[in-house]
């Protein structure tokens, strides 16, 4: 069965993670994604670690694409690009503001060639303002967007998330939302449009629920280790075997079940803990009681008890445990992907399931320029 974006062609001029991950998601929905690189290759080739000589970032951000090389500084190749753009539906770029215009492929030019184009530009901090000319990557946007300030041990001033991709892919994901909206609108109006998005704004959007605390109080929501301001109990507890269990009581019906699971029925009707706002207020009284309880038995016991009572819980998992966890396998959250260049790799599965238009399968992209001849031939371009 064809995917949802069957027949949609993406001209992907993007680099590193933000743009490429967006076009990867569109490719996994069935779009024909053509990744266009300069002869030198894009930035991500140079970021370690490599697998069989190819950068993991390049491999990982470029599934479900074909790879071509064009030297857009040469008039002949720019003419090829324009010819391809006539027959494309989506254009994605995330160079520094101004750079794509210097290549002669700004929105004005591309929308002239193809008024139906959905044209997307992603920048780090915006196309106007004092930081417009600055490049940004996941860690700089983490540092600048307030993102680190809610994370860390109690008393810390906030720490970075050492998975330096979440804010990249968050931006990618919001690009995909926008592209889908624009494609939908285009079906009705026949017109393409221009879309801009910034990593900074996307990061703030992702922090909506935590920034809400700041807007309400004008105070910094403090880092609380594994705990959080607004919900109690919602944190990790140390168990007898020195392992941690994480739990979250996130609706009122879960509280009695939680108390039963840890055999602390006496807490159910304790007025200090009757509702979440009460538990937040009496956190200092409640948490020591719970800590003592969890310390009395090993983590395996608490997993059994909490799961039986339908209370959200998990151990702190690592990749080796996760990779073959039945939940992960059965839902294909992580899948094995065979590739001609890098062997069999464990990779991220697609994030959605569609009953009529299945997404995926996840397929390897290629090496730089691997599909140039094939793609240009399809466009009827002789080289």
């Amino acid at each position: 069965m064809p995917g949802i974006l069957d027949g949609i062609r993406v001209f992907d001029l993007s680099i590193a993670a933000v743009g490429p991950w967006a076009s990867k998601l569109l490719g996994e929905m069935g779009a024909d994604v053509i990744k266009v690189e300069s002869p030198d290759g894009e930035l991500s080739h140079y970021i370690p670690p490599p697998i069989k000589g190819s950068a993991v970032l390049y491999i990982s951000a470029n599934f479900n694409k074909r790879h071509i090389v064009l030297d857009l500084k040469q008039e002949a190749d720019r003419a090829i690009a324009l010819k391809m753009l006539e027959k494309s539906d989506v254009f994605i770029q995330n160079m520094r503001p101004g750079a794509v215009e210097r290549l002669g492929l700004g929105y004005d030019v591309v929308s002239q060639v193809n008024p139906k184009m959905v044209y997307v530009s992603a920048s780090a901090y915006g196309r106007t303002g004092p930081m417009a000319k600055e490049a940004g990557v996941d860690p700089t946007v983490q540092a600048f967007s307030g993102w680190c300030s809610t994370t860390g041990q109690p008393g810390s001033q906030g720490e970075m998330f050492r998975h330096f991709a979440h804010l990249d892919i968050n931006t990618s994901s919001m690009i995909v939302e926008a592209v889908l909206q624009a494609l939908l609108a285009r079906e009705k109006t026949g017109q393409g449009q221009n879309i801009e998005i910034e990593m900074l704004a996307a990061s703030m959007s992702l922090q909506t629920s935590r920034l809400a605390e700041y807007f309400a109080t004008q105070e910094q929501p403090a880092p609380m280790g594994s705990a959080v301001t607004t919900t109690v109990p919602h944190q990790a507890f140390l168990c007898e075997d020195q392992k941690y269990i994480t739990v979250g009581v996130v609706s009122e019906d879960q509280w009695p079940r939680f108390c039963r699971a840890i055999k602390a029925e006496e807490l159910i009707d304790d007025p200090r803990f009757a509702t979440n706002p009460e538990r937040v207020e009496h956190r200092q009284e409640l948490i020591p009681l719970l800590e003592e309880r969890f310390r009395a038995k090993p983590v395996a016991w608490w997993v059994i008890r909490l799961t039986k009572e339908q209370v959200s819980n998990s151990r702190v998992q690592d990749f080796e445990a996760l990779r073959y966890h039945p939940q992960v396998l059965q839902n294909e959250h992580i899948v094995d992907m065979d590739s001609p260049h890098w062997g069999t790799l464990s990779v991220d599965g697609v994030p959605w399931e569609f009953s009529q238009t299945p997404a995926g399968p996840v397929c390897p992209g290629g090496l730089k320029g691997e599909h140039t001849q094939e793609v240009l031939r399809e466009f009827g371009i002789e080289t």
Binding site: S149, A185, I195, L206, S314, V328
Partner: protein
Amino acid sequence: MPGALSDYRIVDLTQGLCGPFGSMRLGDAGAEIVKIEPLDGDASRTMGPPFIGDESAVFLSLNRNKKSLGLDIHTAEGQEIVRRLVTRADVVLEDFGAGEAEKLGLGYADLQVLNPKLIYCAVSAFGEKGPLSNLPGAELVIQAMADYTNSLGRIGEPPVRLGTDVASLSTGVFISQAVTAGLFHRLRKGEGQRVSVSMLGTLLHMRGIMWTSMTDPDDWYGFHLDSYTKPPDEGYKTKDGYVFFSLRRGSSEDWDRLLISLGMEESLADPRFDGFGREVTGVGRYVAEVKPIWEKAFATKTNDEIVHLIHEFQGDAVPFTNYMSLFQQPQVQELDVVREIEHPTAGTFETIGPVWRFSDTPAAVQSPPPTLGQHTDEILLGLGYSSDDIERLRVTSIIG
């Protein structure tokens, strides 16, 4: 022009953070949303303090653009009201857990009969198959399950969660994608369908580069793999704050001049500083161990001076912000993403508005978040219930 989804109606049965964030984004794009809440309200209404008036700040931040219908969906009449709404809707969102919607007569098969072109979006915590398909989700729990906490904190110390509600809100973005994609397909091919996303699936997707890195790396080297063993990075202390910087470009001559201008001549001979500082700036492998050397040089300079200096050497440098300093940044003011919303009872509050900039179909805040059951009468009258019906349903605790 209105937003891209302005012709569509959504019936939203989800609660908490994930589903409501997804539907709010669809509302930003113009969709009309009926939020069905249990009679005691969406669970996030009691998430807090902080409260603004009687409303949870978290709830307010996730529920603009919606009308609230208070309804006991565990009653036959309540289910009938949902079915009537669905008959004239385009999209249904639910997060009951595997098999639960079917028990309520609100599964895809039940509703598709009433509305064959329906887009039915099911949201789950761990995924719809497997041993955990019925276990409720919670932000920290999904983060811990997805290996997120292993890139935070310090080995041997208690786990640290990511402060941002990523498992919930990133899933909300995938909800918005799945629904819009479903509507796109329906517009082109005339076919409805069932779509689903999960919180665990979301985080495992977004961490995919880690799985690939760990499959068969040529060496255990590079910032993805280092992330498991590195200590926390809290930025570089300066005279008046903290900065973060990365300096991977430029020539060796530039790099030498930078170190000299900072009085760090001794580091010129330090092999860790080779390669234009690739491994001692940004997320390089020696960043933690050489941080005191940088901080000694930064101690007499302000954040602004350091940022300016690094820019001079073609690097990236930014102040390390918290929520207070974030909104003082001119660039953040330039982006203009904060919106003031007037709520019927809580008064005016601030929140993050839509962040896409569309030239033709702009997204916008449509209406304030509702009080519980604010639109119950209006919605039921629209479905053809009489005032007497509504009175009876209220007295019998089916609506609220």
